[in-house]
């Protein structure tokens, strides 16, 4: 019963003004490509897309406004925040591959601030410390009950990609985590 004496209750709207440690921002619209290809298609695809597809686990490549995220041994997520046409670029590579435009399937939340790691770790089991998950690292993983693609774009900034219909849940989970990050 002693614990009850130290319990605190937050007012319902305490966090409506934002959080001290974490800033959550919906990312601007971007075009996205789900790409599957074998090893022999990689040089052609990399040249056509203008970004070198990474082959090491948990790594990504960045060229201008175009990100290539390693998801699996033959699977990548490409994100273009500019005006580029990813589908046309992939189609022009002349290689055997599978590409699907998933621009409107995913949305992203940018999580930044000194408490970003803590906010994401409130629902994600991965070790997000800098030596293990450095800038540029990316991984498909889970946040609470949903699958996300997590990438670290700066030391204190993460990009959380999730399916569009899951985004209220993801934003809610991150908000709860952000509220706890200051404690």
């Amino acid at each position: 019963m002693a614990d009850l004496a130290t319990a605190t209750r937050n007012a319902a709207l305490t966090t409506r003004g934002g959080f001290a440690e974490v800033v959550l921002t919906p990312a601007p619209a971007a075009s996205r490509l789900s790409l599957r290809a074998g090893a022999d298609a990689l040089p052609g695809l990399s040249a056509a897309l203008g970004v070198t597809l990474p082959t090491r686990p948990k790594t990504s490549a960045l060229s201008g406004k175009r990100h290539a995220l390693w998801l699996g041994p033959d699977e990548w997520l490409l994100i273009d925040e500019g005006e580029g046409d990813l589908m046309a670029a992939a189609a022009s590579s002349g290689t055997l591959h599978s590409s699907v435009d998933v621009s409107h399937r995913n949305v992203a939340v940018i999580v930044s601030g000194p408490g970003a790691e803590v906010a994401i770790n409130s629902g994600c089991p991965q070790d997000l410390s800098l030596p293990i998950f450095p800038v540029g690292a990316c991984s498909r993983t889970i946040l609470g009950k949903v699958e996300i693609v997590l990438s670290r774009i700066a030391e204190d900034t993460f990009r959380v990609e999730c399916w569009r219909s899951f985004s209220p849940y993801v934003f809610g989970m991150l908000s709860e985590g952000a509220a706890d990050a200051g404690h």
């Binding site: 686990p57 948990k58 998801l71 699996g72 041994p73 089991p125 991965q126 889970i142």
Partner: protein, 106 residues
């Protein structure tokens, strides 16, 4: 929380990212249309369900998406080793001896 080593991600990840996918090293008969009902039942339904060491398929479904194989203890839930799909089945005696040596070292 269990940590499972994914041979494709080359890293230990939380069990939350994985799904079990049944017994490993079950070979589908090449002449599947010709075998008897009993032989099909043996291939398709019957499993050993051992107490102790078992070889299983696991899938890193919320990670790289790959199937791989694992040697696991059904009593302690301990993962002895994991290896890529298609690689040969590790020697049972070697796994158990390795565990004994580790136990002795502790």
């Amino acid at each position: 929380m269990l940590l499972i080593y994914c041979p494709y991600c080359e890293e230990e990840r939380s069990e939350l990212e994985f799904r079990n996918a049944g017994d490993a090293h079950i070979v589908r008969p090449a002449n599947i249309a010709e075998i008897s009902d009993e032989e099909f039942e043996e291939f398709f339904f019957l499993r050993q369900n051992p107490k102790g060491l078992i070889f299983e398929r696991w899938r890193h479904i919320h990670g790289c998406g790959r199937f791989f194989n694992a040697a696991r203890d059904t009593v302690s839930d301990r993962f002895y080793t994991t290896y890529k799909a298609g690689e040969p089945k590790p020697d049972v005696a070697a796994i158990l001896k390795g565990e004994q040596d580790k136990g002795a070292a502790r």
